[in-house]
Symmetry: C2
Subunit: 312 residues, 2 copies
């Protein structure tokens, strides 16, 4: 009995490891910290990291060791090298089950996407600040007759995406249910982040649908904390001062007898890297499904990743 | 031009006041604090308070002055007086646009409901701790051929109901999206409340669907604060120690780098009383719609009230 159980367990373990390791990942955008963190999460999941990655023009970092074990050679990417598509096509021949993770500069996004589509390599793009409408057009026009699947999302932290989706749904279902409630929003990020949190701005649109203040609440009313003293007072741990995203939203009734508060606080990059690895796995699953039965939809976002996870 | 504007304004004002004042409300359960607060909110909205209310058996309070102006005679209600149905029928003849608000003892709920259904008076029941399944059966069986519309809800704070509905929807759409996150829940209420918050228990079922801990998180893990010192430390204002409902839920990632927090904090009873007045208005609207075109659905909850509000 025990030995049968053990054998079943061993078989399940073998199959999971086999499936994970049959997934090969190319990470572009290293040595950028988000790209490196994603490469680490992919390695931790058992995905195989291919020994080549696209980087920017500087060429200051010719190679990088991920998790002290996986050496990745960094070469100039699309926009800086003419043979990027040809390189990808070669790479895909060596690694048929290849998925690209892209955390590059917003200015590189469109070139990179066009290259992935041309070479027909499936991808996950997490670069924030890219022009999504332009990206979608490239995917649809240049990728019309190509076999390529992609996830594009400005925020890869799937739990935050789930909260955003829930608030959007709530604001659609119960608009003005918090009518005349006052909204206050405070966010803290590392001092180097100049602009207001994009997530805060997105969530404010849902909350002002709920309190009916969409026309009067401007993004300039979002309180931005960008210095160590204020951030520490706001609850940010010292060790996260150089990389964090803390958000607090509060809705208060006119007589102040009722208040609702929502916080989402992130230190470091791990939650985004984990979400990226989830998206890589999702792309591989979509590919497997499309091989069995071709599908119309080939461009996805993190909501799709989340909803697919829920259906398993 | 100005005078035309003024006339339009005056006409709108006249019509709104007329509509509001054509709504007559009987409040049962006074001098209980929730019934009194609801009567006040109804008066503040411009509804007409009828000068009669059902009360329990004690008869210690023969009459009550609401908002220093509206005298209500309190008489024994169903279960304590045989002629309750007959009284209601008479009252409805005098006030054809009557809606009952019921905040009585849970033990009186079923008798009261049967009486409202028999007399065909529309109602809003906010009593917590009632047996909803039994109430529904009375409404459906005894009310089969009666023309009666009702709202029954254990929590009349419509904003909290909206949050609950949003979390339910989120947990259905993205189950396990917070897998392996740790849940902590703390709630504070006045020292006289013996049991764990029902709202906290309901919200925990959604949150444990999200973090996959439905089988391991027991309601005994909800931290209950029931003494002044702890409550004040938790943020409860001194003046609300005798009547408040503060809730904090936190989900934390295994490595503690990510946390989400939700708070809903209520001082006093006003938010529930306001929600009750919303429900009264909703019942009157449903009645007006049913008069134009008979409808199947006649028993509603606060989600229905919220969704109808959103559609206006």
């Amino acid at each position: 009995m025990m030995s049968r159980l053990f054998l079943t367990f061993a078989a399940v373990l073998f199959l999971s490891v086999r499936f994970a390791s049959s997934l090969h990942v190319m990470v572009n955008g290293m040595p950028g910290p988000m790209a490196v963190a994603s490469a680490e999460s992919c390695v931790d999941r058992g995905f195989e990291l291919v020994p080549l990655g696209f980087t920017g023009s500087s060429g200051r970092t010719p190679e990088l060791l991920v998790r002290d074990k996986h050496l990745v050679k960094l070469v100039k990417g699309p926009g800086f090298a003419d043979d990027a598509v040809a390189q990808l096509v070669r790479l895909k021949k060596q690694h048929p089950n290849l998925v690209i993770v892209d955390y590059t500069h917003p200015s590189a996004t469109l070139n990179n996407l066009a290259c992935y589509v041309q070479a027909e390599v499936d991808f996950v793009m997490g670069t924030t600040g890219g022009d999504f409408a332009a990206m979608k057009e490239i995917f649809e026009v240049q990728g019309k007759d190509k076999k390529v699947i992609g996830v594009i999302a400005p925020n890869m932290a799937k739990q935050i995406v789930a909260v955003q989706a829930a608030l959007l749904e709530m604001s659609r279902r119960f608009p003005k249910s918090f009518e005349s409630y006052t909204l206050t929003v405070t966010e803290s990020h590392q001092a180097t982040k100049a602009d207001t949190s994009g997530t805060a701005k997105a969530i404010v649109t849902h909350l002002t649908t709920l309190n009916g203040a969409a026309d009067t609440f401007g993004n300039e009313q979002i309180v931005m904390l960008r210095n160590d003293q204020d951030s520490i007072k706001f609850g940010v741990p010292k060790e996260a001062l150089l990389g964090h995203a803390f958000h607090t939203y509060r809705l208060t009734s006119p007589d102040k007898s009722v208040s609702f508060e929502l916080q989402h606080n992130v230190c470091g990059r791990r939650v985004y890297a984990e979400g990226t690895a989830d998206a890589v796995q999702f792309v591989a699953q979509m590919r497997a499904e499309a091989e069995k039965k071709p599908k119309e939809k080939r461009l996805f976002n993190m909501i799709d990743v989340l909803e697919y996870g829920g259906m398993q």
